[in-house]
């Protein structure tokens, strides 16, 4: 049985006028037109909508859509001592921006970043839920280092801080923890460092852990992903179709998250092309070990396209499962 999941973020607003309007609430809050309590209510209603949409679409393992996050780095950066949240800079090759953290002194844990959000997700969902944290190497890579001048030390200090976050998420009931390391695709020479840093985080965790490698290729990382101290690896076969070949050619014994619906383009995949891909993948890897997923977070898409992709993903996986090929 193929299962389905998502990568993390999800469009915060919809064209549906009856839905909670977070964009307008944030605008009003900035102009002191609504209270913090009112804004919080809109946040919660938006997150509940996002949870409901994923559940109704039939996704097996969901997130809260990262509705409170402006970008994948800042929520963590705000809770680390020794950092300042800097100016806007392009997020990989997307027409989307993040605030670049600036490392000013030795980093230290200040507070948990995502634990309350995760608890809210868990309380409000009937499905299995997943916590997401930024990977220590990707964080280090996206930051401006004005203190360590040493990406290894910076990464490992971040790993210690993120380990606390992961541990606390587990205590809050997280059974799945996803660690995002897209930067690794573009810095394969740092594979050993990333491996070591991931180990710091996953060591001693009982939750299932997944390493997410999206936006890029894994060619120059092979065979390391096979040995990472995590339970599963997510690959993006949209940006780089050959990523799948690389996994299928090796002796891959982890769980696989197959990022196969393009989360950066509105073109809706044909069921036929998805079924072919599932067929190919399950010839080598048991469907029990596979999650089907979009290639990255769905927030690059307008809401209606994101939802259409979720539905197509679930329908195709269901159809495949009914076909009973395995």
């Amino acid at each position: 049985m193929l299962k389905t999941t998502v990568v993390g973020n999800y469009p915060k607003i919809t064209a549906d006028k009856s839905a909670p309007n977070l964009r307008s609430a944030l605008n009003k809050f900035d102009r002191n037109k609504i209270s913090e309590e009112e804004l919080e209510r809109v946040y919660q209603e938006t997150i509940q909508r996002v949870i409901r949409e994923q559940e109704e679409a039939g996704v097996d393992l969901i997130t809260d859509g990262q509705i409170r996050w402006d970008d994948p780095v800042t929520p963590f950066a705000r809770n680390i001592d020794g950092l300042e949240v800097g100016g806007l800079i392009r997020f990989f090759d997307n027409n989307v921006y993040y605030r670049r953290p600036v490392v000013k002194s030795k980093l230290a844990f200040k507070d948990y970043s995502t634990v309350e959000e995760f608890a809210f997700l868990k309380r409000n969902s009937t499905k299995e839920v997943k916590a997401v944290i930024v990977g220590p190497f990707t964080f280090a890579n996206l930051a401006k280092d004005e203190y360590y001048n040493d990406i290894d030390k910076l990464t490992l200090d971040l790993a210690e801080i993120l380990k606390k976050e992961a541990k606390k998420l587990e205590e809050a009931g997280a059974e799945f923890i996803q660690i995002d390391e897209p930067s690794l695709c573009f810095s394969p020479e740092k594979i050993d460092l990333a491996n070591q840093a991931i180990k710091v985080i996953t060591d001693g965790l009982k939750a299932k852990t997944f390493l997410y490698l999206y936006f890029g290729g894994i060619k120059n990382l092979i065979p390391a992903p096979f040995d990472f101290p995590v339970d599963g690896i997510a690959i993006d076969v949209v940006s780089r179709p050959e990523n799948l070949d690389l996994i299928l050619e090796g002796s891959f014994d982890k769980e696989l998250v197959l990022g196969c619906l393009d989360a950066r383009n509105t073109r809706l995949e044909e069921e036929e092309e998805l079924l072919k891909l599932f067929q190919r993948t399950t010839q080598k890897i048991s469907s029990e070990r596979i999650y089907v997923s979009p290639s990255c977070g769905l927030e690059f898409l307008p809401h209606e396209a994101a939802l259409a992709k979720l539905k197509r993903m679930v329908q195709s996986a269901k159809k495949f499962n009914l076909g009973g090929d395995d």
Binding site: P11, D30, D70, R90, R267, P302
Partner: protein, 321 residues
């Protein structure tokens, strides 16, 4: 020598922002909106003449977004729902749904109007095919290359119109070009199509740049002048252009458009002098880092006045006119 200009956009006056809003809710007619766009354009031309800039822009009062503006006027494009770019900022992204065709000139009318208002040269402003592709969804073309090359033909037609209308400068912006260094050859191939046979001096503005990855390859881009940002990163980029030597004309961004703070004349003069250590005087133009549309009109005017007066003083110190 050291001619001053700007990158393209100016902030829209409040009455135009309101009118655009009313128009989108069908509360005012297209004619009413167009009249206000022309009024705002007249004000922007006057503002630039008052400041004493050498090469003017029309200010892009009729454009919300440099890609969507063209996409909305081309056959083959649809427009998506809202997508977030950062914080609480959203934009609508074009979707390529079929072969892209131009049924009528797009940039020409406003260029001609703006040029009719002044004796100074007004730049014709276009968005490059690579950036048009990079900032759109693609539901039709098998590859990005197919879309880029189709767009190159369309932007070429736009450029020809401006050229025939007497534009002395045609600027084809490619801010996305540094995003994917692996596609630089495609962007270069496309620009060759766009500028083929033009008489006007051609310019391309590129920003958000990590230039280490595309330099010196970018010198093959088929334009006479590159317009680059420098102030925003305090000229950290400058080093890259020393070796190998920069061969084109260059418009140097000496004003940070992302900051509310008005630069001191001293600072801008030192920025200009730093640029002149690397680029030969006769090839240098001076402008802000990027379009001014995110600043207020007051900030824009104050920043540009400082820039123009800094250029004058540098010229005097160097004994130029």
């Amino acid at each position: 020598m050291l001619l001053t200009t700007t990158v393209g956009s100016f902030p829209k006056p409040d009455y135009l922002v309101k009118a655009r809003n009313l128009f989108s809710r069908k509360k005012i007619s297209e004619d009413e909106l167009r009249e206000l766009e022309r009024k705002a354009t007249r004000e922007i031309i006057k503002l630039q003449e008052g400041i004493g800039l050498d090469i003017l822009v029309h200010g892009e009062m009729e454009r919300a977004d440099m890609v969507t503006f063209f996409a909305e006027r081309l056959e083959g494009f649809g427009i998506s729902g809202l997508v977030r770019s950062y914080g609480n900022r959203y934009y609508k992204k074009p979707i390529a749904k079929g072969k892209i065709k131009r049924n009528h000139p797009i940039a020409l009318e406003m260029f001609q109007y703006a040029q009719s208002l002044t004796q100074k040269p007004v730049k014709g402003m276009l968005t490059g095919p690579y950036t048009m592709c990079d900032w759109s969804f693609n539901e039709y073309f098998p590859t990005r290359r197919d879309l880029v090359l189709n767009l190159a033909e369309v932007v070429h037609q736009e450029a020809l119109d401006l050229d025939h209308a007497g534009a002395k400068y045609i600027q084809i912006d490619e801010p996305a070009i540094s995003t994917r260094p692996s596609e630089i050859d495609l962007a270069i191939e496309a620009m060759k199509i766009v500028t083929d046979g033009l008489r006007a001096k051609t310019v391309s503005h590129i920003c958000y740049g990590d230039f280490t990855t595309i330099y010196p390859r970018i010198l093959s881009l088929a334009v006479d002048q590159l317009d680059l940002e420098f102030a925003n990163n305090d000229f950290a980029n400058l080093e890259i252009f020393k070796n190998p030597r920069f061969t084109k004309e260059i418009a140097v961004g000496v004003i940070d458009v992302h900051s509310h703070v008005i630069e001191t004349k001293q600072k801008v003069k030192s920025n200009i002098k730093r640029a002149l250590e690397v680029f030969p005087l006769e090839k240098v133009y001076i402008d802000p880092d990027c379009g001014l549309k995110t600043r207020t009109l007051e900030e824009s005017e104050a920043k540009l006045k400082v820039m123009v007066s800094a250029v004058r003083e540098v010229k005097e110190e160097m004994g130029l006119k």
